[in-house]
Amino acid sequence: MEAAADQVDRTAYATWLMRMGDNTLILGHRLSEWCGHSPVLEEDIAMANTALDLIGQTQLWLGLAGEVEGAGRTADNLAYLRDASKFRNVLMVERPNGDFGQTLMRQFLFDAWHHAMLTELLTSTEERVREIAAKALKEVSYHLERSADLVIRLGDGSEESHARMQAALDDQWAYTGELSTPDEIDTATAAAGIAPDLAKVGTVWRQTVEEVLRAATLSVPDSTFAHQGGKSGRHTEHLGYILADMQFLQRAYPGAVW
């Protein structure tokens, strides 16, 4: 029974790690689509830089996920050889970029959660998790600072920028609930002290979000409806297309070294 319990924890732990890594992988992918197409050169740089940080974090999270899983899969194996239903990212990060305001709003809503999550992970019972979180938190603190600042400036900007940011917020809102809604994996990893109580992360998230949106003169939507599914592998129709591109070379030339 001891071994079985250990086995369950290990699966939950690996799944939880995949969630962390898949979030950063897929969001990094989306951000990288802006490369050369953003409204101003500074944003081209910032998008590439944020994507780069997220891909770097992906290598760490998925690398550890593969180790914990113990089936010999590397970070690249996990990124490039799983089909959509095996991905564990939240739906929010796979949705199309929309206009630049939608991308920024999503980034802010995710950064606020990511920052709260990583801060909690500094006291994880798992040393490896603490290490990754500490490294990632430095980067994500900057991401949050940047995206919050832009949300405020655009929300409290022109009439059009305000309207676009409010529309972006309204559009993203139903996809934020998934970030902080715990399921059995979250509960199991929290019980093991690996991950924090997600509700607590959600409270911090809400505080940051309300504060920034207030400064941005944007209204928090009333709706509490939350789309769910990504964390358990039930995605939107968009993820399949992302993976078809992302995985093409690994799928078409199996075993090649790049």
């Binding site: 990288s32 050369g36 197409h37 900007g157 090649a256």
Partner: protein, 312 residues
């Protein structure tokens, strides 16, 4: 030459740097604006062909390296627009000229990136050619330009090594990978040679630019240097330069090689390259779609300064 112009030329001849607020001939200023502006435009348009493979990079590490590279290029664009701004032209003015077709960017970016090996070839050949152009420009007479070049060259040589490393992996990889590598070399070889511009005998303005140390070497000198550097690298990769006339010339101490098809060069300049419309179209679309963003930030800044004024 006026006394001012003579004094200016003497400073250049002595190897002094010209700084923004100092007197300079109008032609010097204009030529520099054109040259730096086109270089800046090339950096930002250059994001597009490489950006085309970021989402499809074959490993996480390759993806990260490519992202870092494209980020660097946007950064180079930034340095260069700043250098141009010291000459009294704003970034927006330069961009307006790019978007309306009144300023060019390097024609090489009008070629498509068709396989992952192209990302290697761009690093190896295109960045290689760019460095060949840019290294001497570290000694250019205009201070801000020279300093931008010093920063840029450092990063570019890093990019070139990464590109060569991709080519190496491909050339030593599976038969399909080797085929992609050879195909990339075939497609990028002549366009890379074109990057140095037409032969000196057909090149206008060259003499004045060289006197001003805005241009340090002739196009043909640099092209020769590039070929001499690149041929052994291709041999090491086990790839074949697509030029039947390529041969070592003991006498000149360099390779003889075929000229690129200059009619193709002029077609691409005219807008008939494989990707001209898409590249410029993508930039114009980005600019137009982003108008609300720039205006929004401006509106915020105005509110802030108004509030500050009111508080004073």
């Amino acid at each position: 030459m006026s006394p001012e112009e003579r004094a200016f030329q003497e400073r250049i001849d002595r190897g002094e740097k010209i700084e923004p607020k100092e007197w300079m001939p109008e032609g010097y200023r204009k030529t520099l604006i054109r040259q730096i502006g086109q270089h800046a435009h090339s950096e930002i348009v250059g994001q597009l062909p490489e950006g085309n493979w970021i989402t499809r990079a074959p490993t996480l590490e390759r993806k990260a390296i490519l992202l870092a590279k494209v980020q660097d290029e946007a950064g180079h664009g930034l340095y260069l627009y700043c250098a141009a701004e010291t000459l009294g032209v704003s970034r927006d003015e330069l961009l307006e000229k790019l978007h309306s077709g009144n300023m060019k960017y390097s024609s090489i970016f009008n070629y498509p990136t068709l396989t992952w090996a192209d990302i290697g070839a761009i690093g190896w050949l295109v960045d290689g050619a760019a460095i060949m152009n840019q290294v001497p420009l570290q000694r250019t007479s205009y201070g801000p330009y020279s300093r931008a070049m010093i920063r840029i060259c450092k990063e570019e040589s890093f990019h070139q090594r990464q590109g060569y490393d991709i080519m190496m992996k491909m050339a030593k990889g599976t038969p399909e990978q080797k085929e992609m590598a050879q195909d990339a070399l075939n497609r990028f070889w002549y366009p890379s040679l074109m990057m140095f511009g037409p032969s000196d005998k057909d090149s206008v303005h060259s003499a004045q630019s060289m006197a001003w140390k805005i241009k340090i070497n002739t196009n043909d000198e640099l092209r020769q240097k590039f070929v001499d550097q690149t041929v052994p690298q291709a041999e090491y990769l086990g790839l074949t330069i697509p030029d039947e006339n390529l041969a070592w010339n003991e006498e000149k101490g360099g390779y003889d090689f075929s000229e690129p098809d200059w009619s193709e060069f002029y077609e691409v300049l005219k807008g008939n390259g494989p990707c001209n419309k898409e590249r410029l179209g993508a930039r114009v679309k980005a600019w137009e779609d982003g108008a609300w963003f720039r205006e929004g930030l401006m509106a915020h800044a105005e509110k802030q300064s108004a509030a500050k004024l009111a508080a004073e």
